[in-house]
Each structure stands twice: as C-alpha cells, then as structure tokens.
Amino acid sequence: MAECKSGGDGGRSPSSSMDSSTHPALSTTSSGSRTASRRRDLSTDLQLGLSLSPASSLLAVEAKSIPSTPRNQILPDWPPIKPFLRSALAASARRRRTLFVKVYMEGVPIGRKLDLLLLEGYESLLAKLCHMFKTPITYKLKTCCHILL
C-alpha cells in the first residue's frame, strides 16, 4: 500500500496538525505516553510520515498492543454471515495493516481506540473524533482562521 500520507489529497502543512497545547478540549499527548510504555513514542502530533510496509516491526507491535475483543469467541454463529464472507473477512483482517492509537479527552477517564489507517486524512480524522467524543473541535489552519466543527 502507498505510504501513509500525512494529510490526505492536498497535503497539509505542519501548522494544521492538532496541538494539544493550544486546544485544551482534546489531548493526544497523554495517549502517546500511555501506549508508549513498551515501545518507542509514536510522536503523537499525528503527522506521522511513516512509511508502512508489512515488515515494519512498529506495526507488528502496534497490532498486538490494543487487541479488540473478538465477539466470535462468545457466539461463533452470530451475526448471521455466510462462511465465505466470514473467511474473506478473516483473511482480509490478517492482511490488513492497522495503526491503533488511543485518544483521551481531558476530563473523560475512558479513552477511545482508533485505527488511523482506516482514515483518509486529517479531515476524516477530525470528523471521526467529533463523532466519537461528541464535541466540537477547533483548530488553526495555515491561513490562521479558526474553524469550528
């Protein structure tokens, strides 16, 4: 797959990345330190610029660090999907690269898990975070306008 683009189609300048120091409502540095205990810091200014390949050890560790609880251990025959779809999804999940981060909002003890590779760029990341935390997010654009989502 292509390299992880740090800003989607247009490419965004560094000044548009979310910086927890200017936006008290949303903090991502804490997530970085909490998940970084066993591996190197992810440098959570979200401007990752990582080149992703299946052989990347970062990803191998990342995929194991925050496991999702698979429901199929509880009910192997629910939801009702056919075996072909089931195995296609399993095969796809094994191949799919993931980059999970945990995002904490200040004042909320429970963090939310997020797979960054499922997003197309900063816009969809912001939309996702708004949706997850049910909160408006403000950020500075290159042109120094504040946008309220």
Binding site: M1, A2, S68, T69, P70, R71, N72, P76, D77, W78, P79, P80, I81, K82, P83, F84, L85, A88, L89, S92, A93, R95, R96, K113, D115, L118, E120, K128, H131
Partner: protein, 590 residues
Amino acid sequence: MGRGGSHAAPAAASPPWHALPDEVWEHAFSFLPADSDRGAAAAACRSWLRAERRSRRRLVIANCYAASPQDAVDRFPSVRAVEVKGKPHFADFGLVPPGWGAAAAPWVAAAADGWPLLEELSFKRMYVTDDCLEMIAASFRNFQVLRLVSCEGFSTSGLAAIAAGCRNVRELDLQENEIEDCSIHWLSLFPESFTSLVTLNFSCLEGDVDITVLERLVTRCRNLKTLKLNNAIPLDKLASLLRKAPQIVELGTGRFSADYHLDLFSKLAAAFAGCKSLRRLSGAWDAVPEYLPAFYCVCEGLTSLNLSYATVRGPELVKFISRCKNLQLLWVMDLIEDHGLAAVASSCNKLQELRVFPSAPFDAAEQVSLTERGLVDVSASCPMLESVLYFCRRMTNEALITIAKNRPNFTCFRLCIIEPHTPDYITHQPLDAGFSAIVESCKGLRRLSVSGLLTDRVFRSIGAHADRLEMLSIAFAGNSDLGLHYILSGCKSLKKLEIRDCPFGDKPLLANAAKLETMRSLWMSSCSLTLGACRQLARKMPRLSVEVMNDPRRACPLDSLTDESHVETLYVYRTIAGPRSDTPACVQIV
C-alpha cells in the same frame, strides 16, 4: 387420451371443454408461470392431473426430504430441469450439525434412471460427491446446466468428470461451495472441440487454475456471457481474459493486486473499455481504491454490482458507485458508510435491491459509521427499492417508521442489528413499533428478518398484518410463548419459520400443530422446548417429520433422554416420504 366427439349435438361447434385432448391442456398449462398454479390445476380433476404431470418440464423440490426421488420421477416423467434444496437455511451459519444429511446421490441415481433426457440439475445446500458428478457426466446425453450452490463433498476430480464427459454443457455455475482441491487440471479436460460454454463460475474454488488453458477455453467459447473467476487469477490476467471475451455480460473479477501500478491500471481500463455488454460485476476482493477508475467506462451500463467481498473504502468507492446510474442491485460492505449510501440514494434511483454486509462483525467497538441514516436515505430516494438486507449496529423506531412510510413496496426486509437485544438507541424502547410499521405498511412483504430488542408485541403485529409473509427469521427476541403463538396462529402464507435463542416453549407449538403441515418447515434452536413436547407433536401429526438434534459433541444419546430434557434444536417439516433413514447419531426423528 380424451377425444372430442364429432358426434356431439349439431348446435355445439367444438367438443365440450372437459373432453378436450390432453395436448390442449398441456399447451394451456405451459402458460401458467408458477408451479403452485400448475399444482392447483393438477388437483382439479384426473385428466388435468394427467396432462399437467406429463408435460411438466421444470421441477423444484424445495426440501429434499419432503418427497422421495422415486416419487418425483414417477409423478413427473418428462422433467428436463430439476432443482433440489437440502439443508435448512440456518446451515449457512453453522447451526446444522455436520453429517446431517441432504445427500444428492439418491437424487442423481433416480434421475439417471428415470430422466435420461435431463438437461439441467441444480443442488442447493446438499452433499454432492465426486461419484455424483461422475454419474451426471455419464448418464445424461444432453446435459447442459449444472448449478451447485452452498454444497460440499466434492473436489476438482468431480469437476474434471463434468468437463470431460458433458459434451453439450452450457453452464457450470459453482456458487459458494466447499470444493476440495485435488490439484487436477480440470479445466484442461474440456476438449479442444468444446465451444458451448455460456456460463463459467468457479469463484469459490480455492486452488490455482491454469491460465493458458482458461484463456484458450474463453477464446473458443464465443457465446460466453458469464465468467466468474476465483481468487487465484491476478489482475494482469484478468485484462488479457477480457480482451478475449469482450462480449461478456457478467464478470466476477479475480484477485486485485494490493499495489497500484500505472501500467496495470491502463491495461485494465483498456480491457474494460472493450466490454460494451458488461452489465453485472462482482468479485473485487482486496480491491484498492486506486483501481476503481478502471471500471468507469462500464459504470453506465451496470445493472448489478456485488462488492460484498471488497474491503475497499473511501471517496473512490462512493465516486465509483455514484457513476452507476442504472444500478438495480447493489451488494456492498458497510465501509460505504452513511454518507456513501446518501450518495447512492441520489445517484442510483433505479435501485431495487440493496445488501449491506458487516466488515467487522466480531469487533465490539463501532469502527464504521453506518447507521440507520443510510437506510433511511436510500428508502426515501429509491422508489423501486423492494429488497433489503442491512447489517448495522443501531436503529430507531422512528427510522423504521419512516422507512415503512417511504417504501410500502418492500417484498423482502431483513435487518440485522449486530448486537443482540439492542433497543432503540435514542428512546431505549424495544423496536416493536418500528417493525410493526414495516408489516403494516408493506402489504406485499414476503420475507422478513427481525432483530434488536423485541417483545411479544411485535409478533402480534406480524401475525395480524403480514398476510403475504412466506419466510420469517427471528433471533434473540420475544419474552414468552405468546410471541410464537401469535406467529403460528396468524401469518396466513407462512412457509418457512426459523427461530433461534428465543424464550418460546412447548405450548404454542402443540397448540398450533396443524399449522405446521401448511408450512414447508420450522426451525427452532436454543429455545425452551422439551423432548416430551416434540414426541407429542410427532404423535399428533404423522405427516410431519420431527427431528431433534443435540450437540454432536455430547456423549449422551438422544434415545436415553427423558421427556423433560431440553431440546437444543428442533427441525420440523412436512413430508410424504416418511421418516428418513440417513440421520447421523446426533439427530433423532421422534
């Protein structure tokens, strides 16, 4: 053979209608579209029975245990096309124990003997062996169509027998079967002189296929209209195959490369540009969004798009589907999300069938933004939408009521809320009101699957209003016996009822025993049934076959259990063939 009397009274210009020769009735019956109409005609009188059964060409045995193969051959001696269905629908989800039955062998044997002119054979959810396939190849000199859907028990050796032995085969359609790979190059067994293939579907095959042989086959079969490849065919080979078969109408692509290459993209785009007749597209496993524009030139003509295995997401996916303005059928993953469905709603106004499958059904957390909104939008903007299968994680009564109001023309409505017992996420009420609105509004509803938090109230509505409902699927719903009683005492047209994990017990089953003979089958698993009630039901209704199944891993044989013991799975069906003799140890006919 009846003959009109020429010595009728002078006033009658033609024979009285009831003395018309059989050929006239046979010709008349050929205009009856539905087998049930033909069956009704056959029940009218002896001469109609004779005429109808001798002229029947197509036969569907919806339950292979409802009649014996010999019954079918004796009654309908001139059949040319047969379809036989075996295991119950819940077998698709692993609820039927292995070795349960539904062997195709007795049917193939009876057909070989009684229908030597058979041209088409179709098996669904049955156990088909290589011996069966060899017998088919050897027994029917004019065999043309073989369709195997959700079957198992055979390998590529059996396919080799078909390829080598069936001179005139037109269609080889393998849908979602478990096929053992014997590393035999079955495709190369089609003779060089063989050119009659119209449909070739091997999408479910796991193993490799000789591409050169496939290319030669495709090149010489000029009438090939449907080609569905398997996962072993890479993208560059797809392009060359398409160049050899530009007349293709239905295509299942092979594996998409995970890496984008510009030259491959150009080859693909050029190949698709040559396919002016392409109407139906499927496959696209592991498709990456960058390749989707290669399909752009065929979008306008597409009527059917099956992306249910394509884990592709993002704006490219939506752009691609939005270009398919003439789409009638769309199967897609929930990766399309609500905003994607909104785009579909505004672009694809001719949509008739929508299926949305879950990309992460086993994750507890919501990774994908697909909610009730998507379905509401599509139902509002697509006036011809009549069939829906929708997997999602949340729903509201209001959304269902809106959908019901927008689309009273639904014939099939299947909603699966992934987490059992999920209530309306805004009001936290059961979804009774929503589903009631669906059955009240959609008077032509033939198939319904309900989910989410539901009480007995919804079943009262379904029983009272769903007059045309033929198939109903219920899981994790209801709160008492009343729920099942409402269904069995209502639902005038009910043919198939399948229930799992509901608190339904013996009473409604026994109280409505007679209803079961008007239905094709009833499946109940993980409910509150006792063995005694099943035994009672069997005694009361001799023309029903009452099968009780327990976990095959359990040591305790069913014979030794008392009346009070809990029954894990009950499968009841009407039959004229009596109890079957091929049950495995974990199944007992009571």
